[in-house]
């Protein structure tokens, strides 16, 4: 056994040098011959300043976290406080979790005392799946007696803004869509990395009139730009077509 242990140690130390240091350096060296841009993170500069990466999404919000109408908006993000590239992540919410789908009657609804209920007592006229929040703004999914809630001036509950039904309402408002208009699913769900650089074409086209209005551009021109920054399926069939939000917004900034 002692001989096996010493052979293991010699083998492992050798492998650590060759595979642990030599191999990644070799790959980096070969990549530098012609693939340097990709190896470095596909970085994007404007006027010599680093503004992001083609492959990473970023937030287009003001300092209060509200979306800027003149920019196309990416998907909701669970990375840190939104598109934080140092803490990539997903919500990991299960498909029936109230924090994701809201309170769906007969599935996950609870009464005012927290016991299972057939209806949602927190429903508001705009959002029948409303998940209420406490006065600090945190969602309440298992209420108990004496729980305090945030209320609107008209007496209705303030809903947690991060559920899919609430995001759909906010998306329609931002883009001036009718209250029953369909919303592309990618616009109201968070991605796996929290850094998704793309949105669906449907999502971009829904946003185009709003962006055009905010920038005083003809809608047709913005729609044409959306199509120009749409990457089709690779080789015609791999993956899905996406619109790169950062590249599209950079192009818009160049226009006006």
């Amino acid at each position: 056994m002692r001989r096996y242990l010493s052979t293991s140690l010699v083998m492992l130390l050798g492998l650590t040098v060759v595979l642990g240091l030599g191999y990644p350096a070799l790959v980096a060296g070969l990549a530098a011959l012609g693939l340097g841009h990709q190896a470095d993170g596909s970085l994007v500069y404007r006027d010599g300043k680093l503004v992001g990466s083609q492959l990473l999404g970023q937030s287009f919000t003001d300092s209060n976290g509200n979306p800027l109408p003149r920019y196309f908006q990416p998907r909701p993000s669970a990375a840190g406080s939104g598109y934080d590239a140092s803490s990539s992540g997903a919500t990991n919410l299960g498909p029936s979790n109230a924090l994701l789908v809201g309170f769906v009657p007969g599935v996950n609804t609870v009464g005012l005392d927290g016991s299972p209920s057939k209806t949602n007592p927190f429903a508001t006229p705009a959002d029948p799946a409303c998940v209420p929040t406490d006065p600090k703004g945190n969602p309440v999914t298992s209420p108990s007696r004496g729980q305090k809630y945030a209320k609107n001036p008209d007496g209705s509950y303030v809903c947690d803004p991060n559920t899919v039904p609430e995001r759909a309402i906010a998306y329609r408002q931002l883009n001036g869509l009718a209250p029953t208009a369909p919303v592309p699913v990618d616009a109201v769900t968070a991605s796996g990395s929290g850094l998704d650089p793309g949105i669906s074409v449907a999502n971009a086209l829904d946003q185009a009139p709003r962006v055009a209005q905010a920038r005083h551009l003809p809608t047709d021109q913005v729609v044409a730009l959306v199509h120009r920054y749409t990457a089709g399926r690779q080789w015609g069939f791999l993956g899905e077509p996406t619109v790169n939000v950062l590249e599209l917004n950079l192009a818009l900034d160049r226009l006006s």
């Binding site: 070969l30 899919v164 899905e240």
Partner: protein, 567 residues
């Protein structure tokens, strides 16, 4: 599921068939002994390794010595990796200033990578230094894969060969690294960089976003780790979210390339088995079983995910169209869509990689069940590098035994009689894994530290816990990530489960091979059960599903099936 989804599945199938046949031929030529392709390049490297380590590559070991060598190498590697992680804060190569990991987390992570599980209770961006990732984790990913392949070779020699010995562990390990894993990794890493995966040594670069905020863009030697994570069926990523991260998996092509890196080699190893024992048809029969299981559980998930989450409001459009991928997009990337995400993520669940490009916790109940099934069937579709083959060979021994009982003949596999000593070991092998999963999982559901870590309420929470134990025990390493597993309770139990789940089957498998090594090979007669025809393929499928599936049925009913019915 859209036509594009079927197209991607067909593409993966076609490339796998071609790639596995070519690679299987190469592997057989490499491991047959004697002259092999590429000797002019590889032989001098191997001779240098043998000189430094003072190994005689031609001295063949008995099964017990082989097993001891595997265990010794595992022990030394685990301790070394533990020290690297524990003290990474004091070592160079740390531009992101990651502090040393706590003792328990270091132990958990070390065991996790040495066993090829790659369960990650830490987040790579901030908790692991570049040096620890390269010289610690990546080296472990190479050796875990090469050890799996070596053990498979030893078991093949024992079951199918005529010698009493099973080969030399050190020579098998060196061969696998020099002639298979390192060359393929270098090529694969460059393909990934070409797609946009990063490979650099600088830490975070600070960007000023268009809206005026700041974004810290990470760097790192990512591509070199990504490729062996997949090729070695390991699954542990440079970044916390793994294959969903655009710097690891940038495009739709990269996504399918990743899946192919995982599955082609295990299929090729099964074909190599057939060639090495001189019965290529036997190898193809094993591949057929693996492929049917792979397509089965992957298709179930792809369909479910493309169908979407029926609890979302009807006005959220989840129907696929030319402009909208549709489907259940929570936790999935737009560039992959529901089809590509489920194909890649669930496709790797029948292997020990468990590499994901989307958040499993947010899959629909049926979609998540597809992943679960891939794991609990014993990871033989197509399984880990080497591990997939020896697991399915043990199932094959069980199958010939059951078949032998049905017709009243002494069971035989590859001409060798299977008797009581072998069957005792086979039963121990088959039962060891479920016992670990069910006992540890059940305990975690009744003690406070076990239930406190659960994110999602109700049946989904049960799935989180049982999935975690199934995943680590079978060395898959994927997670319903809602479970907060970096707590002393889970770190300890999961670490024990993964060590047992790796080394108990290795020792038992080698023992089976040892007990058959040198056994008399009986001539084939008309009464011999044909173990390479379609009848046996169906029979073996039945044995795997009944043994693997039924043990976990109560867990599946209380977890995903119940969630689907109630939801």
């Amino acid at each position: 599921m859209s036509g594009w989804g079927w197209g991607q599945l067909a593409f993966v199938g076609a490339v796998t068939v071609v790639g596995a046949s070519l690679l299987g031929k190469y592997l057989a030529a490499t491991f047959r002994g004697g002259k092999a392709p590429g000797d002019r390049v590889f032989l001098p490297i191997e001779r240098a390794v043998y000189r430094v380590t003072r190994i005689d590559p031609d001295s063949s070991q008995r099964w017990s010595s082989y097993a001891l060598a595997v265990l010794a190498f595992g022990l030394v590697s685990t301790l070394f990796l533990y020290l690297v992680l524990r003290f990474q804060g004091h070592l160079p190569g740390n531009p992101t200033h990651a502090p040393g990991m706590s003792p328990l987390l270091s132990f958990d992570t070390a065991a996790s990578f040495i066993t090829g599980t790659n369960w990650q209770a830490y987040s790579g961006e901030t908790q692991a230094s570049y040096l620890a990732q390269m010289a610690g984790l990546v080296v472990a990913q190479f050796t875990a894969a090469a050890v799996g392949l070596a053990v498979a070779l030893a078991i093949v020699r024992g079951i199918g060969g005529s010698a009493r010995t099973v080969g030399n562990f050190w020579a098998d390990l060196t061969h696998g690294l020099v002639r298979v894993f390192v060359p393929l990794s270098i090529i694969g890493a460059l393909v990934l960089v070409g797609q946009g995966a990063v490979q650099n040594f600088h830490g975070f670069s600070t960007a000023t976003t268009l809206a005026g905020g700041t974004q810290h863009i990470p760097g790192g030697p990512v591509a070199s780790m990504e490729v062996i994570k997949l090729l070695g069926t390991n699954g542990g990523s440079f970044y916390g979210v793994g294959g969903a991260h655009p710097f690891e998996n940038p495009t739709g092509f990269a996504n399918m390339f990743d899946l192919l890196l995982v599955i082609v080699l295990p299929f090729a190893i099964a074909l190599m088995f057939g060639r090495l024992i001189g019965r290529p048809r036997q190898g193809r029969a094993i591949v057929a079983v693996m492929a049917i299981l792979f397509v089965g559980h992957t298709l179930v998930s792809m369909q479910a995910e493309a169908h979407g989450n029926h609890l979302l409001p009807a006005s959220v459009s989840q129907v696929a169209s030319a402009q909208n991928p549709g489907g259940n997009m929570e936790g999935k990337e737009t560039r992959f869509g529901p089809d590509g995400s489920a194909l890649m993520t669930v496709g790797t669940m029948g292997t020990t990689a468990g590499a994901t490009d989307s958040a499993l916790d947010s899959y629909t109940p049926v979609g998540g069940a597809g992943a679960f099934v891939g794991i609990i069937l014993g990871e033989v579709s197509p399984g880990g590098d080497g591990g997939g083959l020896y697991s399915i060979l043990v199932f094959a021994l069980l199958a010939v035994f059951v078949a032998g009982l049905m017709v009243g003949r002494t069971p035989e596999f590859l001409g060798k009689k299977i008797r009581a000593p072998q069957m005792k070991l086979v039963v121990a092998y088959v039962l060891a894994i479920p016992i670990i999963i069910l006992v540890f999982g059940s305990i975690s559901l009744v003690v406070a530290p076990g239930t406190r870590a659960i994110l999602n309420p109700g049946m989904h929470g049960l799935s989180e816990v049982t999935y975690a134990f199934a995943s680590v025990t079978l060395n898959n390493g994927s997670a319903f990530a809602g479970l907060s597993a970096n707590a002393p309770y889970y770190n300890t139990l999961l670490t024990l489960a993964m060590l047992a789940g790796r080394f108990v089957p290795i020792v038992l498998g080698l023992a089976i091979a040892g007990s058959l090594a040198g056994a008399r090979v009986h001539a084939r007669t008309r009464a011999t059960l044909d173990t390479s025809g379609p009848t046996f393929v169906v029979f073996l499928l039945g044995v795997i599903v009944v043994v693997g599936g039924l043990i976990y049925l109560p867990m599946l009913i209380l977890g995903p099936i119940g969630e689907r019915i109630v939801g």
